[in-house]
Structure formats: structure tokens, C-alpha cells
């Protein structure tokens, strides 16, 4: 097998390009890969089309930092705080730049990524019928269901094939094999649809840990391009069984990003002024430690023996 364990800086530098369609935040509220968001800001990548059903503050930050000029998603804002101020400024007043939005619902972006994941030419669905999403995003098509007698209307969703999906997982081995548990949002569809997958592993384990439970694997390591060891790489979002949500961090970001100057100061303090995620964790210090899940609620034992 091929070793894929690299530094996050190198993974972003090697696998992400200006103009790429990148999934950053596929699990809805948990597992937003903020460590990668920060690294993208530090490297000054431009013109990203950020794909995320519920992007939380990550997309807002990339917009404000000038990295993201297109959004493909269902909801952009700050789940704790409400509206995304950089998102509003960019769309309403083109500050710091013009923003293109490809409107989706959660289910339509799910169908789009599923179609991409499964190589389907498109996905027909009944959702978003009657919605103006069909008016603001012309990528969908309305058609008649050929199997219905009354010609019932259906929406055809074109497949979404991201260039890169960046996905936090609880544990991975150095070959990119991994375990992910808890709710998955669109993590699986994003991993299968993307050309390249970069994992942010909270923990690196021996390969035997992963193969002990093939039913817990998100996608096998051969489909992964890079795995980076980034503990709490999703902070301030939560990770099942590992990290609690830092709600106040989201709220503070929301307050401070209310005007552009405040946002730039926040960005300087928490992203540009720090060399990497280790420094970010160090700056968080005891605050991060207090979010660590230390209790034990183990999954029932499961046997894979063959004889």
C-alpha cells in the first residue's frame, strides 16, 4: 500500500488548485474541516467554488478572506450566530469581491453528490418542486416522469463532481484507511463523488485497528489522496465521541465579523497570525482541553471472526 500521511500544509499545496470545486463541510454541523479552511486562507488560494450543504462559518471565512468566489450549497451562515456577514457583504455589496451562489436545498445537493458518487447521469427527485430554487439556479431541469400516467413533474439534478473533498474522520491509518462514526450528513457522498479526498484524522492508528471493523470504514484508503494528522482539526465544530462544539467561538466570530475591519482582525488573530494548526491548538489551550470528550460510552462489541 502507498503511504499517504503528509502535513496539512503539503496536502493543500499539492492537491488544491485555484478555481477548484472543493467540499469543505459535508457533515452539516459536525466535522467542518476548519484546520483546512485556515490553511487555505494562509496559502491564499483563489476562486474556489466551495461545496457544502450547511457550510457554517467556514465558507463565510473563505469568502471574507478572498479565497471563495462561488458557493454551491443549501445554507451559508453561522449555525450558532445566524447570518454570515462576509457572505452578505460579498453578495450584497461585492466586498471584498463578487460572489456567485448556486442555490440548492439540502436534499438537492445530497442528490447531486449522490449522482456524482455513483456515476449516475443525473438524479430525478420530487423535492424543490414549487420552489424558486428552480428560478435562481438554472442547472436543474424540470421533466415529466415517464413512468407516471399523468405526466407528474420531476426535478432532474445534475451530478456534482468536486475536485477535492476535505473530510475530518476520527481515526485513520497512514495509508488513508479510516473509521468515521456518528451522523454522516453527506460525507460519504462527498468522498465518493470527489476526484481527490484529503482526510483530517483526529488520530492516526495502526492499520489493524481499521481492518478490525470494515463496516465502520467511510471509504477505503485507496480512494484517499492524502491523510493528515490534525487533532481537533474541526474545532470549533464538534466530532462525535471526540470533541464538543465550541459554541461561544462561533458566536465570537459572528460578533467580530459584523464589520469588515473586525473580521480582518479576527482573521489575523486566529488564522494569518498563526503558522499552523498546532499553534492554533496551543493558543486555544485549556479552552480546547475543556471541549475534549473524556467520558466513555463504548459501542457494543462486534465480532468479525471467520471460524
Amino acid at each position: 500500500m502507498i503511504e499517504k500521511l503528509v502535513d496539512l500544509r503539503d496536502a493543500i499545496a499539492e492537491h488544491l488548485r485555484a478555481g477548484d470545486k472543493a467540499v469543505l463541510g459535508a457533515c452539516l454541523e459536525p466535522d467542518v474541516p476548519f484546520a483546512a479552511t485556515h490553511e487555505i486562507v494562509r496559502q491564499g488560494l483563489r476562486d474556489l467554488n466551495v461545496i457544502a450543504p450547511i457550510s457554517d462559518a467556514s465558507t463565510d471565512m473563505l469568502i471574507g478572506a478572498g479565497c471563495c468566489t462561488e458557493v454551491t450549497g443549501a445554507w451559508v451562515g453561522n449555525v450558532s450566530g445566524g447570518l454570515g456577514h462576509n457572505y452578505r457583504r460579498a453578495y450584497e455589496t461585492a466586498e471584498p469581491h463578487k460572489l456567485t451562489v448556486h442555490d440548492h436545498s439540502n436534499f438537492s445537493i445530497g442528490m447531486a453528490l449522490m449522482a456524482g458518487a455513483y456515476g449516475m447521469p443525473y438524479a430525478p427527485m420530487r423535492s424543490i418542486l414549487g420552489s424558486d430554487i428552480l428560478r435562481s439556479n438554472r442547472e436543474f431541469r424540470l421533466a415529466e416522469n415517464p413512468f407516471s400516467e399523468a405526466g407528474e413533474p420531476v426535478v432532474l439534478v445534475p451530478p456534482l463532481k468536486p475536485d477535492v473533498a476535505i473530510l475530518p474522520v476520527q481515526r485513520a491509518d497512514r495509508f488513508g484507511n479510516n473509521h468515521h462514526w456518528g451522523s454522516r450528513g453527506l460525507v460519504f457522498e462527498a468522498a465518493m463523488a470527489a476526484e481527490k479526498v484529503i482526510l483530517l484524522a483526529d488520530e492516526i492508528v495502526e492499520p489493524e485497528v481499521i481492518t478490525s471493523d470494515p463496516s465502520r470504514v467511510l471509504v477505503p484508503g485507496y480512494l484517499v489522496s492524502a491523510v493528515c494528522h490534525v487533532p481537533a482539526g474541526m474545532h470549533p465544530s464538534p466530532m462525535t465521541g471526540r470533541w464538543q462544539r465550541d459554541n461561544e467561538f462561533f458566536n465570537e466570530y459572528h460578533r467580530r465579523s459584523r464589520n469588515r475591519q473586525g473580521f480582518l482582525e479576527w482573521l489575523d488573530e486566529w488564522v494569518l497570525g498563526l503558522p499552523d494548526h498546532a499553534a492554533y491548538r496551543e493558543k486555544l489551550g485549556a479552552r480546547l482541553e475543556s471541549l475534549r470528550i473524556v467520558g466513555a460510552a463504548p459501542a457494543a462489541e462486534t465480532n468479525f471472526a471467520a471460524a
Binding site: A74, L83, Y87, Y91, S105, F107, G130, S183
Partner: protein
Amino acid sequence: MADYSIQELMIVAAAREIRDGEVVFVGMRLPITAYGVARLTHAPNAVGLFECGIVRYGPADGMLYTMGDPPNQLGAAWATGLVQVMSLLQRGRVDAGFIGGAEIDRFGNINTSYIGDIENPTIKLPGSGGAADIAAMSKRLLAIMNHEKRRLVQRVDYVTSPGYLDGGESRKKAGLDGGPAAVITDRAILRPHGPESELHLASVHEGHDVDEVRGHTGWDLKLLPELDETPPPTAEELAALHEIDKDGFWRG
């Protein structure tokens, strides 16, 4: 004023819309708490769905800022993906769904996308999230809103989540069943009525009156014949609510 907050009344009113044994798309914020109250009072066999990929029977033990927080994962009935849970909507297996919104109109269409024009809006709102799907495919849609004239409007600028569209048969013609069943505001409860399915005033909360409510509504709000005061929360309902929202985070 009564011995409960308006948020508490809204949560309890939302909880009452959930019938025992029903499958409910819960969403975020107040509805999570409403689901918990229903479960602990009159609907012990209700099932709660969360679009992040969680199905729960009992409410979570611990504060939920978002539906994906660790307490909602622990002891869940199912932890899976968005497509798996949301497709239960498309499969016709969701009885009731809750959503909020920035604007709603007299046919129950809800806007969470653009105030003003799409290309040049006054406010760019966060967007649908799962709201458009829940509105399109739940058997009964339940909306929770603040009751202001700028929010309850004649016609929304943008239909994120379809209600009865232009009223009458227009929702059915668009290919959709179901539709809004109740709008719970901080002043009143509205329900669709008549062949046009226009929202009518169904009940007024304690401390509010019909004229005031109509004055804060952006269309000529008609009254249901059985119009009454919204029943206040019972002691049992308030106890359930306090058990779920121990810190009072969602009760304001």
C-alpha cells in the same frame, strides 16, 4: 402576564402539533425542544428525524446548540446520512416537519433566501438548508415565525419553501402533496382554511388581541369561525420543557 415566557408558549404550541406515533422532521432550535416536550407528554411514541443523519426516540440528554452535537448522537436510534434520513420525506414517511423563516405569505410560502431581487437583494439570507425539502414533502408543515408585518407578507419575494403557492390547486399542480398545517408565531397561531388554503387566524396568545395581530400581519388576515385563545402551557408541559432545556437556552 402569565407565568410562562412567549418562547415557552411557542414551544408548547409546537409540541401539541405532534401526534403520538408520528414521524417528525425536527430541524433546529425551538422544534428540537418542542419535539422533546411532545415525547415526554402526549406523544411517547413519536420519532424524531434530523437531517444531519440522526433518528431519535427520546430527547437528547444534554444541551444541543445544533442537531449534530454529541448529546444528540449518544443513544440515538440511528446515526446515518442526510440522504438516508431526508429520503424518508420523499418516500412519504414523514408526518410532520418544522421549519422557520424570515418571511411567510398568506399561502404559507416561506422565504429564507433573498429579501428583494435575486440579483440585487437587500438581504442575502442563508438559504434553504433542508427547509425547501421539508416543506415540499412532509404531510403537514409546521412553521415557527416572529409575528411582524414585514415578515407576514402578501407575497414573499422568493419561495424557498413552497406552501400553497398561489393557493387553491396550485400546490397540487406543481406535483406536491401535503402543505402547511399551522404557523406558530409569538402572537398567534394561523391555519390554512377554505378552498384557497389561505392562512387564517386560528388562536391568539394570552395578552394579545385580534386587532393587534391583524395589524402586525401584512395581508388582510381573516378569522377562523372557531377562533379562540391559545391554551396556556400546562404544568406538565412546562415541567417537560424545563427538563429538556435545563439551562433555559431556548426559552429566552
